[in-house]
């Protein structure tokens, strides 16, 4: 097993609806929101952490593969491979090749670890596109918005429990980066990557997804400088239709 290439996927992620990735509310600000978004600590610009992208894509792919019934709410790991149907096993191994597996006690899976090898995907934090920052500064607008929410009292039909949530507004553009290590023993791991990115577009990122937050789309996607957006557009998930 030998590293033969590092492929770099770059692109532009544009928000279709406001995005909220929480920052834990560790500080109290006068006039601040109840639920702030995560920001670059030096520039105070919002960004998308690589961990948010990786975690969401990984969990979506595990659902798509159908292994959630076996893993029983846990992320897919080495210990689950043996319990799978043979038809499922190779694809599950590809998932472990791409995303890695958590260390599990002892040497029980060392053969499988050697077969799988190191994690192939490295996600990068996505910073706001400089052009977007200039646009917003030029229009004298903020980079985040405040959204008020409440809960409807079912009997009286009135609003109660108001709260405000900070979001990155729709239209914002982030610079997307993803590196994929190719080893000489690897098959086509890119197929799962396209699927994962497509699932991300279809379901969204960050908190409150079922309320409409965090929908996004790729407006540019290049693999080592070559356009791959058509490849992403072609993926469909309508087997059940």
């Amino acid at each position: 097993m030998k590293l033969i290439a590092i492929q770099k996927l770059t692109g532009t992620l544009q928000l279709v609806s406001g995005l909220h990735i929480g920052s834990g509310n560790t500080e109290m600000h006068i006039g601040g929101t109840d639920n702030p978004v995560i920001k670059h600590p030096l520039t105070q610009h919002p960004y998308i952490p690589g961990s948010s992208l990786k975690g969401k894509i990984r969990s979506l792919l595990e659902w798509e593969l159908g292994v959630v019934g076996i893993t029983d709410r846990d992320p897919l790991g080495f210990k689950h491979i043996g319990k799978m149907e043979p038809a499922q096993r190779e694809t599950a191994k590809d998932l472990l090749r791409l995303f890695g597996g958590a260390p599990e006690g002892g040497n029980h899976y060392s053969d499988l670890v050697k077969e799988i090898g190191p994690t192939r995907l490295a996600f990068w934090d996505c910073a706001l596109e400089p052009g977007w920052i200039e646009e917003m500064n030029g229009r004298n607008l903020l980079l985040t918005e405040n959204k008020s929410e409440n809960m409807i009292d079912r009997i009286r039909g009135v609003a109660e429990h108001p709260r405000n949530t900070e979001r990155v507004p729709a239209g914002a553009r982030f610079e997307f980066s993803l590196t994929l290590r190719r080893h000489d023993t690897d098959g086509d791991l890119l197929a799962a990557v396209w699927k994962g990115l497509k699932l991300l577009e279809l379901t969204g990122l960050g908190g409150s997804g079922s309320r409409g937050y965090g929908k996004l789309k790729f407006t540019r996607l290049e693999l080592d400088g070559e356009d791959r957006l058509p490849q992403l557009r072609e993926i469909r998930f309508n087997a059940a239709a």
Binding site: L3, K54, G55, D72, P103, G117, P118, A122, W124, H183
Partner: protein, 321 residues
Amino acid sequence: MNLYRLTLRPLSAFGSEPLGDMLFGQLCWAARNRYSEERLGELLTGYTANRPFAVISDALPAGHLPRPALPGHWFETIDNEDRKAAKKRVWMPLELATAPVAEWVRHCKAPGDIAGAIPREHSQPHNTIHRQTGTTGEGQFAPYAMSQLWYGLDSVLEVYAGLDESRLSAGELEALFGDMGTFGFGRDASIGLGKFQVLRIEPFAWPEPASTDAWLTLAPCAPQGLGFDASRSFYRIFTRFGRHGDIGVHQGHPFKTPVLLAQTGAVFAPIPRAGAESTGGAFIGQGLGGGNTLSRAIPGTVHQGYAPVIGIQLPQREAAA
């Protein structure tokens, strides 16, 4: 052994501070992945016998050296100087490093004056998605926080590498550092941390002071039992609790035996010998490990106890003063 300087630009926060021994460890994994396990074995031949293929320094702010870990009275006294403020000035501009060390206190800068000198620590929340519900939850799915090190904008770091070019070429070293930067160095590399760009690699030679009588280390090192003059050597110790990276984390026990090291910026004076001249050595220290001493999971594990060094001129003071 030839000396090279790699210039790096941080592109993200870091989970681990880029210290020389950790950079060396990840360099080994990068070499193993890029070139093969056999090639790594060849590179490490003689590693614990004073024949390293590479010796990597910490990533230092561009154009600066750490101030030596000397007692305060070994530096010149400056009248009307706030001694506490002076203690915070810990980065020495490289072009002035030929001056005797006693004078360095006049030239040193505080971290706030140098772009990217000290990364700022910042907490970032995380959680694991509960696979069945798609939400956070309790137990392993509860939110938790991890600290990150954020370099300032426009920061540039420099790594000094001693290289045995009969075994690893400068081009190969640059490619391996490029791999590390693309994929991420240290903790949480696959989720966005530790990314950097290699701007250039160039042959490098230290500016020559008029005379030197001690070494200043630029990486954590292991000086134990190497015959330094204890009365004129100064260092801060720390214990490295190492952990395997890459697929090593899965093989049995990922934790290595703890190693006692001297921090970067240590001063070591050789014992004076009649007629002895300053050696041209590019590094001091020793290679640690091998033969199952550092790791139960990977018997051949080694640890960089070497450090690149620059010669400095110490003042003639008694340690007990």
